[in-house]
Amino acid sequence: MPIRFSACRAASVFAMATALAVALGAPGCNDADLQTYCEERESCRGGNEQDIDACVVASETEEYIVSDIGCSDEYVAYFDCLLEKGSCRTVGQGQNCNTDEDCFGGQCSSNNVCETKDFGLEGEDCEVEQRAYSRCFDLD
């Protein structure tokens, strides 16, 4: 018995297809979670709500450029790993000091080295993802 393809059935199929297409193509399906990253980063650094918003804008700019050159997958993979394994830790700024005023936004440690707090990775965490992301930019 032949299947009759009524107008109603056509409309419902079209609606389902459209919904599926929208779901698959919806923004954020393959985007890095920049909001969470910025919240983590600014919480670590002592930033305020404006700092979080500024971080998101800056990160979105980087994401746009990354997408432009075809490195979105590597970018997202790196950020996913960063969010999973990253932590708030004290890092050296590479500068000697006597007082906190000698440090750009940081503090002078007991060893007379400028330090600051930042959200990031330890050791070899996410090294594979980091290398893939970095290599993606290489023109060599």
Binding site: N48, Q50, A58, G106
Partner: protein, 175 residues
């Protein structure tokens, strides 16, 4: 910013208004001068636009507009060097002394300083007039003098620093 936006709308057909906003104009100025490739132009335009958005987040719109106005009004293109800058033009007009003795120009060849010559028994060379003694052959070789938009840039930086609690925050510059 509102004044500039109003001006842009008056000067540009409505359908082209988005292409006439200030970040786009600044991007065009820089890239026409510096022969940007497609990717670097895209990146620059995004950075300038993002800097405007970030300034707005910190309620520093007026300071951003003042800096952007200055860049547009006072920026110049060094066509030989393909460099857009707001700095005063450098000048390759100073004569600097290398401190090495000589009896003839050939004694100065091994100084390693391009164009060094022997004058009054000393190896001298043409240098930038900024007092740093950098050798040069044309004005384009010299980094230039005072930044004509330094005051506006500093006010923008101060505004954002005052609003931010992040000691490590680094703001986008246009250059």
């Amino acid at each position: 910013m509102r004044r500039l936006l109003a001006t842009a709308i008056l000067l540009c057909p409505v359908m082209f208004a988005p292409a006439c906003d200030q970040p786009s104009r600044i991007c065009d100025l820089v890239c026409e001068c510096e022969h940007c490739n497609d990717l670097s132009e895209d990146y620059l335009c995004e950075r300038v636009s993002a800097s405007q958005d970030i300034a707005a987040i910190y309620e520093c719109d007026a300071e951003w507009s003042a800096y952007a106005d200055c860049v547009e009004d006072k920026g110049t293109c060094d066509e030989d060097g393909a460099n857009f800058t707001t700095r005063e033009t450098g000048s390759c007009s100073n004569t600097a002394n290398s401190g090495l003795s000589c009896t003839g120009d050939s004694d100065c060849v091994n100084t390693g300083i391009p164009g060094a010559r022997c004058e009054n028994m000393s190896c001298v060379y043409t240098a930038c007039n900024d007092g740093n003694g950098q050798p040069c052959s044309t004005d384009s070789d010299c980094p230039g003098g005072e930044d004509k938009c330094m005051s506006e840039a500093e006010k923008l930086s101060e505004c954002i620093t005052a609003a931010s609690d992040d000691p490590s925050f680094v703001f986008f510059n246009f250059d």
